[in-house]
């Protein structure tokens, strides 16, 4: 097995992606607590390695379907963080001009076909995008992110079977964070390793440590390669954990304290990355700190941009209605 899957010259990029998501989500959380973000806010804290590791293997033209917890996917795929911040604050400069908010964003220019408020809503669109890529012979792949809970929706079964029988270039990425809202995985499904389901559909399946970006990078790289070569879909499960509640404001009193502490203290994907690259002297502490400072400036700028942006004009409400 290769020891360091991510090329040395891309380690900085990996770190930058993860830390951008981390800092952005922390900033959004703060702004939310200050009452400047309305509605529901589902953060991606703790799961940064997944979107980052996967999207490092994608081109801008590749497709992604996202979830209700989509900020990380958007950031990792290259969406403008200023526009993301503005969207979740409901501003006219947002990705969707403030019409969608955190849970309903699209950015087709960057291949992002939408976060969604409907759990399981991303499976069928991922199939359609894969179908189009195959039909048009573009070489694009379609990546579908979803949670452990979403696997229980009927759309999972229908979509993955379609992808399998048509041998479509799709990578199904399960972010198994052990919970679906308040429902523990051991209650909501009997299977522990969701990737086992791949066998039932006759496709490739693999489970990796979702806190280790090196494993995620490697497994998704191989899956993307298979997909581009016409070998069909893969179900890749990443075991992960959320460092915050289901949404901001969830007191998490259905979880074990020990479990929360364990993941936060010992399984933080960013700390795991830092330790590994520093121990193996692949990158210096200064280099990491420089990236961190740069990211802090980017995030600060994004928040300022969003805060200073105007709300949409009232007359916008009926634009694009036919």
């Amino acid at each position: 097995m290769e020891k360091i899957s991510i090329p040395i010259d891309r380690l900085g990029e990996a770190y930058e992606k993860m830390i951008t998501i981390r800092k952005a989500e922390e900033a959004f959380e703060k702004v939310y607590m200050d009452g400047k973000i309305p509605g529901f806010l589902h953060l991606y804290l703790g799961e940064e390695a997944i979107a980052s590791g996967v999207c490092m293997n994608l081109k801008r033209s590749d497709y992604v379907t996202s979830t209700h917890r989509g900020h990380g996917h958007f950031i990792a795929k290259g969406s403008d963080i200023k526009k993301i911040a503005a969207e979740i604050m409901g501003k006219e400069t947002g990705l969707c001009k403030g019409r969608g908010g955190s849970m309903h964003m699209i950015d087709v220019e960057n291949g992002l076909y939408g976060s969604t408020g409907i759990v399981g809503g991303g499976f069928p669109p991922a199939v359609g995008l894969g179908l189009a890529a195959k039909y048009k012979k573009t070489g694009q792949v379609s990546v579908c992110f979803f949670g452990d809970g979403a696997v229980n929706e009927g759309t999972f079964h229908e979509a993955i079977n379609l992808a399998a029988i048509w041998s479509l270039p799709i990578i199904f990425i399960c972010e198994n964070n052990l919970y679906a809202q308040s429902a523990p995985q051991e209650y909501h499904q009997k299977v522990k390793d969701i990737s086992k389901r791949a066998e039932g559909y006759g496709i490739e399946g693999e489970t990796v440590d979702g806190m280790d970006i090196f494993q995620i990078y490697k497994a998704s790289r191989d899956a993307v390669e298979r997909a581009r070569k016409g070998f069909g879909p893969t179900l890749l499960e990443c075991k992960t954990y959320l460092f915050t509640g289901h949404y901001v404001g969830d007191p998490r009193n259905y979880r074990y304290k020990k479990e929360m502490e364990y993941y936060k203290n010992e399984r933080d994907c960013i700390k795991i990355f830092e330790e590994k690259v520093l121990n193996e002297k692949l990158i210096t502490k200064d280099e990491l700190m420089e990236i961190e400072r740069k990211v802090e400036r980017t995030v600060d700028e994004a928040i300022r941009f969003a805060e200073e942006s105007s709300m949409p004009d009232r007359s916008e409400v009926m634009k694009d209605v036919y």
Partner: protein, 342 residues
């Protein structure tokens, strides 16, 4: 009458379920996160959520997780299961976290539950009560804010309740649970914290009865769900300008209380219908047609509807406000309906 006891709309709903379930052991309650921490009874981590708005918090502790059953993300699956289980002699209360998910559970409800009595030649019934959450105003975005009761009312075989007060929320829920046929109750999430008089004992508010929320003589304002409160605000302004509005709360779309509505319109001769749902093929247009059909000779002026705008529910607070019907919209419609200058 005993001293007025005030509780919230949310508390009234919980009280209805608890009291009725304590009385009738044949009732079970299922839905997503209605208890929380499912399967962790031993560790004391269950009953930590109580539904997305905390309505049922405490119920699984009180009644047991064999009667208050958390469901995975499988709306078509558990709703279909609720439909068939409720044909066997047990009664099922099934919660759909947001009415926007009706598109997922809808097949089992509209192709299944709704057809059962007709198909069986009248012998089989489905003792199902669906509780679901509708409505905008909380910036929850386009997948968690729609008002979809018109869709349900379109399908014969489903009763549709849209309570606006804590009193009705309790009484109509009890009536729905006791009803032999499937009922969908659309609870408005913006009303959960509204307080009002609710008797402690069990009672029913019969399905199919409208309520005169405010008596008046110049114009009839027909309201649904939260629009009652917007209309009550408009009524105060109108009164200052010498217009006496009668407000009729529909409460139940199926069955529909035509008499109370028509009698009021005949009395006032003017009508405005206020509906948070969308303007086309909707409850509002349906009621407008009813009024035209049954009382056109008594009406002197246009039949006006005030609805949300026909677009997805936008997220940005400014846009959502613009999308929803406002007090001003109602006042303007009343002026038009009564042929007065604003």
């Amino acid at each position: 009458m005993s001293e007025e006891r005030k509780i919230t709309y949310a508390q009234a709903i919980k009280e209805a379920m608890v009291q009725e379930m304590q009385k009738d052991k044949d009732i079970i309650f299922i839905g997503q996160d209605i208890s929380g921490g499912a399967g962790r009874e031993k560790d004391g981590l269950t009953d930590t959520w109580g539904g997305s708005f905390g309505v049922s918090k405490g119920m699984s502790t009180l009644l047991g997780t064999n009667r208050v059953i958390d469901c995975p993300l499988s709306e078509a699956g558990y709703m279909g299961a609720a439909v068939s289980a409720s044909t066997t002699g047990i009664k099922v209360i099934s919660e759909l976290m947001f009415n926007d998910f009706l598109w997922l559970a809808g097949d089992q409800l509209f192709n299944g539950a709704a057809k059962l009595r007709y198909l069986s030649g009248g012998t089989e019934t489905c003792r199902l009560t669906v509780r679901t959450v509708m409505g905008g105003g909380l910036n929850a975005g386009m997948h968690h804010s729609q008002s979809l009761y018109s869709l349900a009312a379109h399908i014969p075989g489903i009763k549709v309740a849209i309570p606006s007060t804590p009193y009705d929320a309790k009484g109509m829920l009890v009536a729905a649970i006791r009803d032999e046929d499937p009922v969908i109750i659309f609870e408005n999430k913006a009303l959960y914290n509204v307080e009002g008089y609710v008797p402690e004992e069990l009672y029913t508010v019969p399905l199919g009865k409208a309520r005169i929320a405010k008596e008046g003589s110049d114009v009839t304002i027909i309201v649904m769900s939260r629009m009652l409160y917007v209309a009550l605000e408009a009524e105060e302004n109108l009164k200052k300008n010498g217009i006496s509005a009668e407000i009729i709360d529909v409460r139940s779309l199926v069955p529909l209380d035509e008499n109370v509505i028509i009698d009021s319109v005949k009395k006032t001769g003017h009508v405005v219908i206020v509906d948070e749902a969308l303007p086309r093929c909707s409850a509002a247009t349906d009621l407008a047609a009813l009024v035209a059909d049954k009382s056109i000779d008594y009406i002197d002026g246009p039949i006006k509807t005030v609805t949300s705008k026909p677009c997805p529910v936008p997220f940005s607070p400014i846009l959502e406000k613009e999308y929803l019907p406002s007090k001003e919209d109602i006042i303007n419609a009343v002026y038009e309906a009564t042929n007065r200058e604003g």
